[in-house]
Symmetry: D3
Subunit: 137 residues, 6 copies
């Protein structure tokens, strides 16, 4: 059967700051500039989850996008939406919530729920002009 990639777009809003506890405020500002603001700033994150695999001859689906929508809602939106990533999301207790790291965390959270024969790719827009993608490599 043909191998096709199916994509589902989702959305969450969150506050964050880029900051290392083991650096001084000056060092944090030098590296992360205004993104290190102690009072936080925030983003509308646009998320695309892409799954690659063979079309099922029974349903014509690679993966039911309604199921994927609900999985993203339960695993990602519930955990991240309207949250402060640094304070309220355990994965970022000791990990700087850059878009790069967020995309890896999202990948890992979804990987355990998606059949192994499907490849996963995460694309995450932090702003309309800055975005990242990660495929588990």
């Amino acid at each position: 059967m043909p191998r096709v990639t199916v994509h589902r777009k989702a959305h969450f809003n969150a506050a964050h700051r880029l900051y290392r506890k083991d650096w001084s405020d000056d060092k944090n500002f030098e590296v992360f500039n205004k993104c290190s603001n102690q009072y936080f700033h925030g983003h509308n994150y646009e998320l695309i989850v892409s799954l690659t695999g063979e079309i099922s001859p029974e349903t014509g689906y690679v993966y039911d996008l309604g199921v994927l929508r609900n999985l993203i809602k339960d695993e990602i939106e519930e955990a991240f939406d309207h949250k402060n990533l640094n304070i309220e999301v355990p994965e970022f207790k000791d990990l700087i919530p850059t878009a790069e790291n967020i995309s890896v965390v999202i990948y890992n959270k979804l990987r355990v729920h998606i059949p192994e024969d499907l490849d996963i790719k995460i694309t995450l827009y932090e702003t309309p002009r800055n975005f990242v993608s990660y495929s588990g490599e």
Copy 2:
């Protein structure tokens, strides 16, 4: 010469339903939910056709995008636009018109018209949040 991918975006509107004749209505609804509605629903499909190959030193083109626009118009828009995919498009007589299957049909319809040394990739948006891509694998 450098290998570059050129992309052309197109558009068609169509009605469809997801439905297997050999399943009961209940089974169809269980699997395809409201997408199985017997009276059909429809979409504005956004299509991106991508061709990868070497730049021609003579023209600076990989493939003339005006020619590609006309090819998409003749082969895809003429066949699919303002049509009922299940009833009026022969390729879906015994094939469920999921976005996955539509992308494979489009790939196959274009493949015979595009020089063999060019790779083809199809990206098809069924809605702004649900889309698929297929590269002939």
Copy 3:
């Protein structure tokens, strides 16, 4: 208090055809062209509902957009999404489902649920290039 307009964007997919029962098929095709196709075609309708009124000094809201989202879901998406407008939506039994008429129907369906001191405007995209707007005039 300042008068502000709040806007909420929503989405539904539907099938339709433009067709008058009291005209011949030829006359329908002459006026509505391929939009009169007897087997229907369809669209991803993008809907923007805009409400204008004074900011509440208590909440800083003109109207709670979460409430508006649910109202659009209950009154419009439930009635139109994944439906055949001609066959399954009673308002179009004797009314051609052009984008113009759909926008008026949506306005009227929402008007009874929105406080009278708020003005309503409907914007409805039938395709990314064709859209309409209606303010109850």
Copy 4:
């Protein structure tokens, strides 16, 4: 001379929460739901500033959009970008930073810098699906 509206789009990211100090946490949650999260959340705000006036016969401009870009940068982006609206922006010390109120604050901040014979309209996207507009009425 013809009266034309010129529009300039800009962007800022900020954290906020919807919260009244004189209400209990429960009351805040009841009214503002997850938007009242004590640890804040955030948005990519997209801002459109629109000025309406006569075309200058000398320059063909209503207002130089390069000047408007810099004015938005100095007055709005400097004040709001990568900031916590509740804590760091004085206008919201006693004003809930709803999109409605933010649009009024932006209008007032720009009004004093724009010639009086030009009308101003503010459009502010809090998310791609929720936005507001204000014209000083």
Copy 5:
């Protein structure tokens, strides 16, 4: 009958420069900055033409958008697309091709072809961040 606005989006690419023959090059640069570049620069102009009038009870249309698409093609795209506005478009022989002036020229070119009982509004994007609108006032 309800008054509705119908909108049609179109597109053309053109070169231009902002420049007055009766000013020195220095004066032109002072006012128009890099937009005065003697070798021209260019844009993808996105055009929205909006017509407001009563819905026809016969067709459910305010104005057939297929007819409007062809009118825009014949009157605007033919005249402007892939052209140098300063050199090849007679209306700009003595008129600076700012977005403001282009929108007025488009309005006037279409006004003579549109029934008098329909209001016209022109929206013209020079870039995704700079745009203008004109309603004949």
Copy 6:
């Protein structure tokens, strides 16, 4: 460390024509059609620069997108924005400024400034419907 791709979107406007000096005007028109117009036309080019590499455990960045933004500004926008590509950009003295060739020139201009262990991909939109991508192959 995980390998992630970071993307930065930028923008420039330019005039160009597709034209070979060693061909007759007729031959140029035959191949390049209205794109060969001797008086030039122009585009709003949207540029996406993508860099792939390992996340730095120190900063959580693959590459600082603020640094990338400035690099694009200095190397690409300064050279191309509001310019006539054929006349004012030396790389196109003997190279037809098709989107394909522009993407290769941009790749080469950036390659020397980006660390060798990062892969680069260029995506260049000439119009919203025509775009190209190049990865140095």
